[in-house]
């Protein structure tokens, strides 16, 4: 009994210690940012905006909500989509700082309201309008003039949601949503995609093709860095460096977590978010499934070990008192 009491004292003090340096301290260190539930209605944008911007933002998001009510025509949207492809087609080079991403699964990973906002005014939609005197200067900024009417916007978004909404793997979701800015070297992704398989020359030991690709990546990085003011970090192991909640709320509204950051909002829907997070977890914490498979066995082993040790101890201590 006395031993149990002593054990309780030790356990309580250790527990308090743990609580203080972990949950409590981390709760105090990081400000808590609430998620908006992946609803893109500009609530946070308007709340954070400076006085002179508030009005414009309120108006913008109100218009987005209006367009969202319109019924889009998929067939009409197909013609509009051709204009998107002028910039978003496969193999297009860097444009104003980044390579425009593939839109193959845009309807599957982005939220409808966000897409509407994006086609209306990309800088406003991704909450980086403060970087531009005229939001038309955003690399995709001219899109607004191509879709001047609310109906044309509703149509192209309806098209994306109907025709570009196939199943998407975690990796592809990452490639389309993040890769143009963030490499992932553990996932073998560069800003220009997966490095091609090349061989070194056996006589010289040099892999000329590989080096050429590296040079292209380096040049691309320079452009991205110039556009963003810094090279966005490689996200290989970000999953262990930040909490799940932080990552989700950062993607939803970067300004909320890092005020003034150059990272634009990426308006993912639930499916897109789950897929991107899954990919980050696969590259950053690949041992999770293995841990879960092995853990019970190891712990079970030590439970049995402890029971046997207890019996052994009893055999020796029984007749000591």
């Amino acid at each position: 009994m006395r031993e149990l009491k002593i054990f309780a004292v030790v356990a309580i003090f250790s527990g308090i210690l743990y609580y203080g340096v972990e949950p409590f301290a981390h709760g105090q260190m990081h400000k808590h940012v609430d998620s908006n539930g992946l609803v893109y209605d500009g609530k946070a944008d308007i709340a954070e905006a400076s006085k002179d911007k508030k009005e414009a933002k309120t108006k913008f998001w109100a218009e987005v909500a209006e367009i969202a009510k319109l019924k889009g025509d998929v067939a009409a949207g197909e013609g509009g989509y051709a204009m998107c492809m002028g910039c978003h087609m496969d193999g297009i080079p860097n444009m104003g700082g980044v390579v425009p991403p593939s839109l193959e699964h845009a309807g599957a990973i982005y939220d409808k309201n966000y897409l509407i906002a994006l086609v209306k005014d990309p800088a406003m939609a991704s909450n980086v309008d403060h970087k531009y005197a005229d939001t038309m200067m955003h690399p995709m900024g001219s899109v607004g003039s191509m879709f001047p009417t609310p109906q044309s916007i509703a149509d192209v978004v309806a098209y994306l949601q109907a025709k570009k909404a196939g199943d998407v793997t975690p990796k592809v979701a990452y490639e389309e949503a993040c890769m143009r800015c963030h490499a992932n070297r553990y996932g073998k992704l560069t800003h220009l995609g997966t490095a091609p398989v090349t061989k070194s020359n056996i006589m010289t030991g040099y892999d000329v093709e590989g080096m050429k690709f590296k040079q292209k990546v380096a040049e691309e990085q320079a452009l991205v860095a110039a556009y963003m003011g810094k090279l966005p970090p490689d996200l290989s192991i970000i999953y262990r460096a930040r909490s799940h909640h932080f990552l989700e709320t950062l993607i939803e509204n970067p300004q909320g977590q890092l005020a003034g950051t150059a990272m634009p909002r990426v308006g993912l829907n639930q499916n897109g978010m789950d897929k991107v997070m899954k990919y980050l977890q696969e590259t950053g914490d690949p041992s999770k499934p293995k841990r879960e498979a092995l853990g019970p066995w190891v712990i079970g082993f030590f439970v049995i070990f402890t029971i046997l040790a207890y019996l052994w101890k009893q055999a020796h201590w029984r007749d000591l008192h």
């Binding site: 031993e3 340096v21 260190m29 192991i237 853990g295 000591l320």
Partner: protein
């Protein structure tokens, strides 16, 4: 040359050459342990076992680690964690082991303080134990540099900065030595030379010294024997004779092996259940998230804090000006060594029966925990105030110790 007879068994053969039977007696079957002890006396073996685990897991990690500032981060985070079979397991075991070893060291130390196990012939046990604490701290710190993440880099920067000593105005600048910092780093800032030498310390010199001092620590235990729950002064020869005569019930002692060992092993079992629970399901307290960002000398992390086990001494330094803080820090590092000499009472008894000392003990424990909390919280507002007063309390306690123990009645 000694005269050797033909041996009739392997045991005899070994005994002739190595005296294994004597060794067994001295270290196991006739190493007498008081019967009246609790599981806290198993903490020493728990520490020894944890150290063993750290060595084994460390060897596996060492096979893939690359001590190069450009490659170190990926060598642990990618190669070991992804490409090496069970590499993640060794890494988590090593991380949890490094953290838990300090929890157990602190429990072990406070047990010693509570039961007065540093007095009456046991001073060297305490001093060698403190030496182990210092060496483990150095081992932990040097190991923390190796992944070359943000915290490695910035903790390395902050801690090596301490060696600059006092400010130039203090004592005419005699104790100001930026050159020492550069000498330790091998460079102006932490870089390749820095990583290389901390790698050497972590995988070679520190473990070697630790092993040596563990042997010394065990040696210092052999003659005074371990203490017991009542602080009773046991006549070990008499008690041992009783045991050998078969009077197990009357004897106040038990042999280390197998009787005490069987209990140690049981406690180890319970400990390992906790250990592996943490390894598989709750490891981030031991592997700080910030250190999964690669080192970047141009980007200071928002919060720089050491691992939890250094927080209390970090907090003692933090509320004060540079010079005062350094003095406070040196004091905190050294003062536990002096415990056997600052406790002026001859009584060896559990603190619970020592009046004022009992109060002193619990305040010290709680104060260290408060310091630990404050060391991690951002140094602002109320946390600063609490931290300051907790640090003052820490000094006051050590100044009061000789006085209250002198007042203590002799039992």
């Amino acid at each position: 040359m000694a005269h050797f007879k033909k041996a009739n068994s392997l045991n005899e053969w070994m005994d002739q050459r190595l005296g294994v039977n004597t060794l067994k007696k001295v270290m196991q079957s006739e190493y007498w342990i008081p019967k009246d002890i609790n599981f806290l006396w198993a903490m020493g073996m728990v520490l020894a076992a944890t150290f063993g685990i750290l060595v084994v897991s460390g060897i596996f990690l060492l096979m893939y680690y690359i001590p190069d500032t450009k490659l170190a981060f990926d060598s642990v985070n990618y190669i070991t964690m992804t490409e090496v079979g069970y590499g993640w397991l060794w890494r988590h075991v090593h991380g949890i082991g490094a953290s838990l070893v300090f929890l157990i060291i602190y429990i072990h130390m406070f047990t010693g303080i509570y039961y007065g196990s540093y007095k009456r012939g046991r001073e060297l046990i305490w001093l060698s134990g403190m030496l182990l604490f210092v060496l483990f701290s150095a081992e932990a710190f040097s190991g923390y540099m190796l992944p070359w993440g943000q915290m490695s880099y910035w903790a390395g920067m902050v801690i090596t900065n301490l060696f600059e000593g006092f400010s130039p105005d203090f004592a005419g600048g005699a104790l100001n030595s930026p050159a020492l910092v550069e000498w330790i780093r091998g460079d102006y800032v932490p870089d390749q030379a820095f990583l290389g030498r901390f790698f050497m310390l972590h995988v070679f010199l520190m473990p070697l010294m630790i092993i040596g001092v563990i042997v010394l620590h065990f040696g210092t235990l052999r003659l005074p024997h371990v203490n017991n729950q009542e602080g009773a002064d046991i006549d070990f020869d008499e008690a041992a004779a009783l045991w050998k005569a078969g009077n197990k019930k009357e004897s106040k002692v038990i042999p280390f092996s197998p009787v005490f060992l069987s209990k140690d092993v049981f406690v180890l079992g319970v400990y390992f259940i906790l250990f592996f629970y943490l390894v598989f399901y709750n490891f981030s307290f031991a592997m700080d998230p910030v250190n999964f960002d690669p080192a970047d000398g141009l980007k200071t992390p928002a919060h720089i804090y050491p691992e939890w086990y250094f927080l209390w001494s970090y907090e003692i330094l933090r509320p004060f000006s540079k010079d005062l803080g350094l003095l406070a820090f040196i004091f905190a590092q050294g003062i536990f060594f002096a415990l056997p000499f600052l406790d002026r009472s001859p009584n060896v008894a559990p603190a619970g029966r020592r009046g004022l000392f009992n109060i002193w003990f619990w305040i010290l424990l709680i104060d260290c925990i408060i310091l630990t909390f404050m060391g991690k919280l951002p140094p602002e507002g109320i946390w600063n105030v609490i931290g300051f007063w907790a640090a003052i309390t820490f000094f006051a306690l050590w100044i009061a110790l000789p006085i209250i123990t002198m007042l203590e009645k002799k039992k």
